[in-house]
Symmetry: C2
Subunit: 249 residues, 2 copies
């Protein structure tokens, strides 16, 4: 927990917030803070601040903050498309997506996605929230990724993708991770792109029809490297490599 994420439900008055859950325990027992100490906080989908600890009791911490600042943003917005993984993997993908600042995460049906995954409790938005907030607290970010579940493959790419890309970017780059290409992000990326849509396949990969449809819509295959990665590693690897390209001078 590198940033204490606050919500409006925690607010007591204009400047005060009351924490009565794991965050209070973190401040008291992990960070060992006492009244008068300062702690980094962020308002969910809002600015960050250095707060002042006012009182610390087991199970309850009161903090105040009066000077908020915006988180700097730069580089392309990232929209991640991920074949819906098994629930244990989905938790990791949710945490990583929030931690690494993706704008939206689209969980889609694909041929090699087991139908039972769509019955997971994580399909409900309220069950996903704790993992997203955990990721934000780790990555010191406050913007909640928009997560959508799409249970039709073709409709997602043909109808939904244009809708969420609409107007958001004059220079989108569409990418699909693949082991059947020698092209890397090094070849495909340039700093003019203001939006990146990156697609990561299921365990076992996309089937040919899926890859062909994506390519017909401008998705460029790129290799993450020599290895065969698990979904959660592929997501981290893809976001890390995009970040490195973003830092290109």
């Amino acid at each position: 927990m590198n940033l204490i994420i606050l919500t409006e439900q925690d607010r007591v008055d204009e400047h005060s917030f009351r924490l009565a859950d794991l965050r209070a325990e973190h401040i008291r027992a992990v960070l060992n803070l006492t009244p008068g100490d300062s702690v980094e906080v962020g308002l969910l989908n809002g600015p960050i601040a250095t707060a002042r600890v006012e009182s610390v009791f087991p199970g309850e911490v009161i903090i105040t903050c009066d000077s908020w600042r915006d988180l700097p943003m730069s580089g392309p917005e990232i929209d991640l498309v991920c074949a819906l993984p098994r629930p244990q993997t989905l938790k990791k993908v949710l945490i990583t997506s929030a931690m690494m600042g993706v704008r939206s995460l689209h969980l889609i049906r694909a041929n090699r996605v087991e139908k039972s995954y769509f019955q997971s409790p994580l399909i409900q938005a309220e069950n996903r929230l704790p993992y997203l907030v955990e990721g934000l607290a780790q990555g010191k970010l406050t913007r909640l990724p928009q997560v959508e579940v799409h249970d039709r493959f073709r409709a997602f790419f043909e109808d939904d993708l244009p809708r969420f890309q609409l107007g958001s970017s004059p220079h989108p780059l569409r990418l699909v991770a693949s082991q059947d290409t020698k092209s890397s992000l090094y070849d495909l990326f340039n700093p003019a792109f203001t939006q990146v849509v990156a697609a990561v396949g299921p365990e076992g990969g996309w089937v040919p029809f899926e890859l062909e449809l994506m390519q017909s819509l401008g998705f460029k295959p790129f290799t993450l490297g020599r290895w065969t990665l698990r979904v959660e590693h592929a997501v981290t690897a893809a976001l890390s490599q995009i970040e490195l390209m973003r830092m290109r001078p």
Copy 2:
């Protein structure tokens, strides 16, 4: 399990191997193979092959392989230095290191490493092996990373590091992940490097003395990106970014 890892203990005769553990179940119940099918295998620290399934019973599979081939290798060798993490994280670091092909993994003491971590069963080599083999099977690699635990920080950098680097590389690059620099791998890496030593700190980071000692020995700080990552994500991110630089045309 993208590659079935074999050891000499599995060998029945010159061409035959008998599997009687999770690998047999994987072949039978996950891959659904039957006699006559082929399966990708690799000999631990050795070559790979396309094997033929000879017999399949619950709990026992016999395969034969007669034509071995070497795994292609290219690019710099990677030696990873990691402040010893908590045991649950160490398991992930072991899997990732093997999966992503590091040559050696050095787990070192640092100021912010809890002493109790050195009491973990994973400090014993035999307890680490299953995680390393799991990583190889995922990444389709066969070379076991050499894992060493070093309980003195300064002695590792001053005595052990020169020893394991000795003679191995005329062009080593020494890197330390840091949030206090704007330099990325993009600025520091070039294809002439034949060896990369990359250091990842503990939760909470290195203390100034540690960073200064590393920098005095030529370790260049580099940033993985804007975020604050957990150790397991930092390892995946660092190896992914090195791989991307390796693929630079």
